[in-house]
Structures are given as C-alpha cells and as structure tokens.
C-alpha cells in the first residue's frame, strides 16, 4: 500500500466510484419485525445467524442486566417476563389500554406513555422498540459491510401523530438516521409496483398482528398515489388470539388469570390459530381442561373483527368515490391475511381473487428497502414518486369546545394550510391554541396533540386581531404548528409532541363514533353556538352600557336591560338551547332602542342598518 501519492497538477488520479450508500428498510411490526436491503431494484430480507428472517418483536430484560431480543426471548422460562406487542403502546396513554397484556404497566410520571415493569425496572415502549431496531440495524451493518447511512421505517397508515412521533423517537434512540417514515400499505405497493409491475387502482388490505390498514392507491409509471386510507390502529391477529383465550377461559369456567398464566394461554391460542389455517379442528388443553376448537367456532369468534375491517374498506371506497368494480386488484399484506376466513371475506367483498404473490410477512420490509435505496441517493428508481396522505383530520379548538378541521383526512402530504382566527374579548393579549386530531366535532372526543400560547398580541377590540395559524405536515406525516398575529407580527410556533393531558379514547372509536353520533354532535354544536352568540351579545351590551348606559337610558330602562341580562346569564351554562335562544332574542329586542339612541349620537350615518352586536365589536 502506498504511504502517499504524488499527483501532478492537472493529472488527477481516476476517481474511485462513489461508495454505494448503505440503507435499510425496516418493518417494525407488532408481533414480528424484519429488515431488508435493496440493490438495483431488487430487495431481500436479511436473516440472523441461524437463517431466520422474521424477528419476533419480543424483548426480555433479564435479571443479569442483559437484554435479549427475539426468538430467545420467546423461549422457556424467560417467556413470562418478556415484552411483546410493545407497538400497541406506542404513543398511547394508559387509559387507551383496555385489554389484558401478559405484563404489567405503570402510569408514566407526566401522564405520557405507560411504562412496562421489568426485572431491570420500568421501561418505556419507545425503549423496547429501540432494542428491536438495534438488532435489525446490526443485521444491516453486517450485510452491507459498514455503518448505515439511513433507514426507512414503516408505520401503519392509520398511525396518528403521537404514534408516528414515538416511532421516530425509538429510531433516534437506536441511533438510526430516519430517511422517511413510510406507511406500511404504501411500502407494500412499492414492492408490488417494482417487482410485479402492478398498475391500476389497487386496494392494499393489510392485517398485521396489532393493526389493520386499508389503502386505496393509484399506481402508474412509478407514481404511487394514495387516494384514501382507513383502518384501525388497534385491531390485528393479536385480537384473534385474545378471542381464543377468552373462549378457553369461558369453556374452562375460569374468570380471571394472572399475567404469566395469560401469556401461556396466548401461546396456546396462537398455535391453535395457526393449526386452524390448514385443519378443520384442533384439540386444546390447559391446566386439566381440554376441548375441541373447530373452525366453525373459531370463525364465530373472529367474524365480528373481520367484518370491522370490511367496513373500513367500504368507507375508503366511499371516501375516494369509487365502486368495487373500479378496483383493478386487491393485495394482501400482513401475516393475519394467511387466515382462510380473512381471504374468503376479502374475496367475497371485492369480488376477485386477492393477490399475495409476494410473501405477506416480508412485502412491507421489501418495499421499505426499495424506497430507502432511492432516498439515500443510490440512483436506481430515482424517478419514483410516493404520494401519501394523512389518515385523520388535523384541527384546532374553537369557542365552545368545538374542533375546527384545518387539514381534512386523506389530504396529500406534505401540506401547509393556514386559517385566520380573531380575539374574542376586548384587550385580549394571549391566545391559547389547542391542536387536535380526529373526526368528531367536540374537542373532548378528539385526540389532544399539543397546547401552546401566542402571547404579546397588542390590546385591541374583540375581533380586530388577525391570528394566522399554520399547519405544516411533512412527508413523514409529522405536524408543525405556528401562529402569528398579522397586524403586529408577533410569532409563536411549536413542533407537535404527543400530550396525554386529556381524556383519551381509542382512535378507531373516535372515527366510528364520529358517524354514529353525528346527530348528537349536531345538537351539541347548535347549543354551543347559541351559547357563544349569547355571550357575545352580553359582552357587547356590557361594554355599551358602561360607556353610554347612564347617559342614554332612564333608571327603569337600565334596570330592565340588566334584568334581562341576568336571566340570560343564568341559563347560559345550561343545556336548553331553545331557552338560551329565546332569551338572547328577548335581550336583543329590549336593547334595540338603546342601540338606536347610541346611533343618534352622531354616528347614525356611519352605522345605518347595522345591529347592536356589531357596535360592540
């Protein structure tokens, strides 16, 4: 090897070809995870030293301070203390976890994600996910022969802001540079698009261990456009297992079991589920009880859940304004689509044979690897374009506890949307902003993402300030919110981080409730509007009375107006919208004369034709 080289001016050495960048695609799954690499448009998953590609998403925190990930953690005596399905806890509060887990949780000190109790003390779901990512990244380093330049990590399309943010945090914790958070169905579409040259209007039906996604996409000449997406971030094969466990307990007439026993039951259930993929029945035994689980029984246990997924499919078709006939192909993704019941139902619903030519367990990782190779700057496929959408509407809290949508669901990202708001009170210098995600009309039914304040608004009369609130969602689906008062230029901004301050509900419940309770929302909305209107009248009149009341009104008239105001105030916080409306109108009638007299004081010309409520502003 030469110790140094001498280069003559103008006679430079032929340059070595640029080093190929090293990038991996990672499918961080609820039950299994995978890593893949791509070269020249061909992707392959990476095995461990024993040739196993799937890494069970299980982490064991041992007494001797070692951390074991994957297969070994699922073995023998360590099983009971192993953490599985941590993905379900990502970005969720403890109130969201309304099902039994094979381990114990404790609430986080600041009310964030719950912590999981282990032999090494409490750990957060983000840490658990980071351990899995580290093992997968190490496979990549070994296969590619050096440190990674970046990774694409997939998330369910239906993941909301806190869940995406938590995934990003886990990657950072694992020391990975995230090139992109990619939706799992989109990743699967990339794999099919590049490998089998699939084109047309495609439905990706992705039923994994813990999540369900359905994306309706248009594939054409390297462009992958998501038209609509839907799903359930807490529905998957895990729930099939749980249904079998519940059945066993019912049959064995046992009411409740401890976490370690539950974990044994889950394993029995999972095995039964796999046997039923090929057989008509399976004999189960547990602690002296034994019974026959037939396919027919099993189907009654899971049919409700499978139907849920089909409902989401219908909604997505409707959101995109398409009929089943308009679909070119349906692609099956996720291990749970191996279930013959799921296949039958999907076939029946879409009236065609679904595609599964690429292994449904690895297709997401393969697609992620293909995209990672492009993003990191290796040439192949550089004209590929992925157009993703946000799965759930983003909005802001407005007067009366209502959610005003700023970016509706299924909007293509990246996106920037702004809306102007104004102050409600005279002299108001602070505006509180509450950032929300969800489809329901009431703030309490949406997920609270962040709260921040815009301070230093110059004092003005109510309604004069112009506060422009901008929402920017990047290609990863992560949100940044900023606010600015336009007349003064006061600026404030925030990158949304998960907050768990408010009452939390499951994301699916939010969407389902959204339609089921549309009527209730409408009534409540109407009540809130009436309340706000009444309050505006009261405040306007109060200001006017302070200024001109004594000069323009007799004592009697003043008293009558005040009496009317008092009775309105009394019912204001009630729920009788009609009564509030009636008293508001009464107050309006009684104050017309006062308004007229104010106008007579030399401002008549300017205000001709206006009503009292505008004078107050």
């Amino acid at each position: 090897m030469a110790l140094f080289t001498i280069a003559e001016p103008g006679q430079s050495k032929p340059r070595a070809p640029a080093r190929r960048k090293r990038a991996v695609g990672i499918d961080l799954g609820t039950t299994n995870s995978l890593v893949a690499v791509a070269k020249e448009g061909k992707a392959e998953t990476l095995p461990d030293a024993h040739g196993r590609h799937l890494l069970p998403s299980i982490v064991h925190y041992a007494v001797d301070r070692s951390i074991v990930v994957g297969d070994r953690a699922a073995l023998g005596d360590v099983r009971a203390d192993s953490i599985s399905s941590a993905k379900r806890l990502m970005g969720r509060g403890i109130a969201d976890i309304d099902y039994q887990l094979p381990y114990e949780l404790q609430p986080a000190p600041e009310g964030g994600m719950p912590l999981i109790k282990t032999m090494q003390g409490p750990v957060s779901p983000v840490q658990v996910s980071a351990e899995i990512l580290k093992v997968l990244a190490a496979r990549g380093v070994q296969a590619l022969g050096g440190e990674l330049d970046g990774a694409v990590i997939t998330v369910p399309a239906y993941f909301d802001e806190p869940q995406r943010q938590a995934t990003r945090d886990a990657a950072r914790l694992a020391g990975l540079k995230v090139l992109r958070l990619l939706s799992e169905p989109t990743a699967a579409a990339v794999a099919y698009g590049l490998d089998t040259k699939l084109e047309g209007t495609i439905v990706i039906y992705d039923l994994g261990g813990g999540t369900f996604d359905v994306s309706l996409m248009k594939l054409k000449r390297g462009v992958f456009e998501v038209l609509a997406t839907g799903g359930n971030a807490a529905l998957g094969g895990d729930d099939f297992d749980r249904a079998i466990v519940r059945w066993i307990l019912e049959q064995a007439q046992v009411a409740d079991v401890a976490a370690d026993e539950f974990s044994i039951l889950l394993r029995i259930a999972r095995e039964a589920k796999h046997v039923l993929t090929d057989s008509d029945a399976t004999l189960l035994s547990w602690k002296g009880w034994s019974g026959l689980l037939t396919r027919a029984i099993y189907y009654t246990l899971i049919d409700g859940m499978v139907n849920q997924t089909l409902k989401a499919c219908r909604r997505v078709l409707r959101d995109a304004n398409l009929d089943v006939e308009a679909i070119t192909d349906v692609v099956l993704v996720g291990g749970s689509t191996r279930s013959p019941r799921v296949r039958d139902k999907v076939r029946e619903f879409f009236q065609r044979e679904p595609l599964c030519s690429i292994d449904p367990d690895s297709v997401v990782a393969l697609g992620a690897a293909l995209q990672a190779d492009v993003l990191v700057g290796n040439k192949y496929g550089s004209d590929m374009l992925l157009l993703d959408v946000i799965p759930l509407s983003l909005g802001i809290e407005t007067m009366g506890g209502l959610m005003e949508k700023i970016v509706p669901r299924n909007t293509t990202i990246p996106v920037t949307r702004a809306q102007e708001f104004t102050t409600f009170k005279d002299g108001q210098t602070i505006m509180s902003l509450h950032v929300l995600q969800g489809e329901r009309e009431l703030v309490s039914d949406c997920r609270s993402l962040a709260r921040f304040e815009l301070r230093g608004i110059p004092p003005m009369v109510a309604g004069a300030a112009r506060v422009r609130v901008s929402y920017q969602v990047d290609a990863d689906g992560l949100l940044e919110v900023s606010a600015q008062e336009l007349t003064s230029g006061v600026h404030s901004s925030i990158v949304v981080k998960p907050s768990f301050g408010l009452q939390e509900k499951d994301i699916e419940t939010m969407l389902l409730d959204s339609q089921a309770r549309a009527q209730e929302d409408k009534e409540l909305r109407s009540l809130r509007e009436k309340q706000v209107e009444a309050l505006r009248h009261l405040e306007a009149l109060e200001t006017a009375l302070r200024v001109d009341g004594e000069a323009l009104l007799s004592k009697d008239e003043f008293a009558r107006l005040e009496q009317s105001m008092t009775s309105l105030r009394k019912v204001l916080d009630g729920t009788d919208a009609a009564l509030i409306d009636k008293l508001t109108h009464e107050l309006n009638d009684r104050s017309t004369e006062f308004a007229a007299r104010r106008m007579d004081r030399g401002i008549k010309a300017a205000l001709a034709g206006h009503t009292l409520e505008e004078i107050g502003h």
């Binding site: 960048k21 990191v376 290609a475």
Partner: protein, 179 residues
C-alpha cells in the same frame, strides 16, 4: 394580502386559466413537478433545502387539489377574478324553485335514513352528482363569458348540492355503522 405572494395555480401547473381543466394534463404536469420537488428528492440534503422542498411540494399539492376538485376550482376562479364567494349578497334565497327542490331532496334523505334505504341513498348520491354536473355547466358558461354574477349564483347552488352530497355520505356512514 397573501394572494400576491402565492403564484397563480394555473400558471404553476402550466395550464390555461379556465373552468374546464383537462384532468389528464393536470395530473401529468402535477406529477412531473412533484417528482422534481417532493421532499423524498431531498432526503439527504441540507435542512434549508429540505424545508424549501417541503414548501414547494405543499404548494403543488394545494394547487393540484384546488384545480382538481370542481367546487374548489370554482371558488378559486371567482377569487382570482376579484369575486369573494363568501362576501356580499347571496341571492340564493330568492331562487324559490331551487330551494324547494333542495327541501324536497332533504326530506327524501331523512326518509331514506329512517327506512334504512341504502340503495335509495346511493341513487340520491348519484342524482345529486348529476345535478352538480348540470349546474357546473351554468357556472362555466357564466365564468367564460365574464358574467361573474351568474357564475357566483351557480357557485352558491353548487355549495348547496355539495353539502347535500356530504349529508348523504354521512347518512350512508350511519347505516354502515349500525349494521
């Protein structure tokens, strides 16, 4: 105030400013530009460059969805011709025939919801879409002839129908959830 900073969406997407938009050309131009500007092109670039890409890609997405969706395109056309669709007199309330038809359709919607008539709702949705197409022609004619009063009136009708369409979808959703 901010309109002066935002480029004209038609120019941005290299299309003639008109009510009629060739969807295939719109899509092709959008995809060509987006391929150039999408943040994925800049995954390994400097933060400032990445931010610029996000902004440009967002603008393209906004322009594309505005021009692709007829109602939003209509509103945008009025806006760039100096007509604020949300200000001024709404003559809608004087169009008795249209309002009567609207009321009737809404009653039908209520009945169908009550009798769980899923097929009827789908039919009503289709019918509303056809009606929208017809009024869209009114809008186009007004707009192309520079008669923005006529166009605005048609726009308000379109809004009504759009809202009706939305309510039909909500009713369909409701039946779906109650299954």
């Amino acid at each position: 105030m901010t309109t002066s900073q935002v480029p004209n969406f038609f120019e941005l997407l290299d299309l003639p400013e008109s009510c009629a938009v060739d969807e295939a050309v719109l899509e092709r131009n959008y995809q060509r530009l987006q391929t150039q500007w999408h943040p994925d092109r800049f995954a390994a670039a400097e933060p400032a460059q990445r931010l610029a890409a996000v902004q440009q890609a967002s603008l393209l997405n906004d322009a594309y969805s505005t021009l692709k969706t007829p109602l939003r395109r209509a509103e945008y056309l009025l806006q760039i011709n100096g007509v604020d669709a949300h200000k001024g007199d709404n003559k809608m309330l004087q169009d008795g025939a249209f309002l009567m038809a609207q009321l009737q359709q809404r009653e039908e919607l209520e009945d169908m919801l009550a009798s769980r008539n899923e097929r009827g709702l789908k039919e009503l949705r289709k019918q509303t879409r056809e009606e929208q197409d017809e009024i869209w022609r009114e809008f186009s004619e007004g707009c192309e002839a520079g008669r923005f009063g006529v166009a605005l009136h048609a726009f308000h009708k379109l809004q009504f129908l759009h809202k009706l369409g939305y309510e039909i979808v909500a009713a369909e959703d409701k039946l779906l959830d109650e299954e």
